[in-house]
């Protein structure tokens, strides 16, 4: 074998279990949301929202995988983990997914760069919306300036996350 990753080939007539096909994407996004359980006591919003990054990666890699309502349960879980007011990611993620659906069939040509652009807009929308919600629900004077670094490296991290997502996806669809 030239590429060691190709050693695991699907056997003829075998299919991955339904649980693996449907469960793996959901579980990876939930694990991404659960990175806030790491024992890091952050002094400023430094950690990129991995749940959001993974959701975007799966959505852009596999447009047929989920309907837009998947943003509701995954967003609720993210809200429970992240410390944002409950309903914040539920709303933002679902609206973002509907937005991606609306944009998708207006674009004639798509490549990796367009995906990154869509993801960047989604990330900026979700983080800025999160700040707005934190602000109106008793967060005091949170300014947008505070999350600019977080936005920046979340956008820069997207290509890496989408690669890892594709790697998991290859394992997912092979029996």
């Amino acid at each position: 074998m030239i590429d060691p990753h190709l050693q695991h080939v699907p056997r003829l007539g075998r299919h991955p279990s339904r649980w693996r096909l449907a469960g793996v994407p959901v579980i990876t996004v939930m694990l991404g949301s659960a990175t806030t359980a790491l024992p890091v006591i952050a002094q400023s919003p430094v950690m990129p929202p991995f749940g959001l990054l993974l959701l975007l990666s799966w959505r852009l890699l596999r447009p047929e995988l989920w309907r837009t309502w998947i943003g509701l349960p995954l967003g609720l879980f993210d809200d429970l983990m992240s410390g944002q007011p409950i309903g914040s990611a539920m709303f933002l993620w679902t609206v973002m997914l509907i937005g991606i659906d609306a944009v998708e069939h207006r674009m004639v040509w798509r490549s990796y760069r367009q995906d990154w652009l869509i993801a960047s807009v989604g990330i900026i929308f979700c983080i800025a919306g999160g700040v707005l919600f934190a602000r109106i629900t008793g967060g005091g004077g949170v300014t947008l300036k505070l999350v600019v670094p977080q936005m920046l490296w979340t956008i820069l991290l997207f290509p890496f996350v989408v690669r890892q997502c594709a790697r998991v996806d290859r394992w997912r669809v092979m029996a």
Partner: protein, 308 residues
Amino acid sequence: MARPPSRRPGHNRKAQYSLFASYVVAMTGAAVGLLLVGVAMFDPTGFAAIRVATAEVTRPASVTMKNMVSGVSSIDEVLAAYWRAGSQNVGLRRQVEADRNRIIEAKAVAQENARLKKLLKLVDEDSSDLLTARLIASSSSSSRRLARLNAGRWQGVRPGMPVRAPEGLIGRIHITTPNTAEVLLLTDTSNIVPVRRANDSVPAISTGLGDGTVEIRALAAGRNPFKPGDLLVTSGIGGIYQPNIPVAVVVRVAGEIAYGVPLANPSKVDAVVVERSFEEVVTRPDPSAQAGVIGPEAGNAAVSSPGP
């Protein structure tokens, strides 16, 4: 690359309805999410009960990881200690020799002190400390600054209790679940702490900025009395925090506002102490504790401002 295949399902009625229904569900759900945020505007801790499950489930994982990585945050100090370890070792050994005698003396003094106090029938007991616990996780991706404490309602932690470390104030309890509690850190943008300058009691208010620093505004009108290097301690006003807990040190002054850095860094402190609310200690002391002794003492401390 051409665009991905359209999600429009052609002439299949069933598929069309299914797609339409999925959008209806998503829109309704988004509206519900917005409604929940609206509720949180008026009652920020209203849905705390829903967080119980996740907080309790992730607690063991966070505690285990905390035990494994304890000390990673101070790795720079460890590396610095290796530098010139030899000469430091000799110096420290000499100091230990010198200190040993003093420790023995101090023990004798403490013993004598206890004996004399017994003679005077003074009981020096402070009932404000509730328990000691560790911070195990935090809202590191959110713009709010909340940390999770490894102790909760079953251990007696209640919302509003102040949390402090030996170095200074950490914050106060925001939400409690059976075994964990969320601490609103001093640097959160909604955490307002009444403070005073340590040496001359100039009153001020400290508000978090969300980026690890706090904003300090003097209560008195006129020019900004603060200058870099001023030490701020809690004033005890408001009834939550005990007076004289170190809060922050002023590092920069810009017009009316002074910027300070908290003295206790929540990512470096090993354990934090949860205290009873100051007001509770003063007005509603625990019946088992000696109410007569604590009440008047703490009350006087709040009324009389300590001299320079």
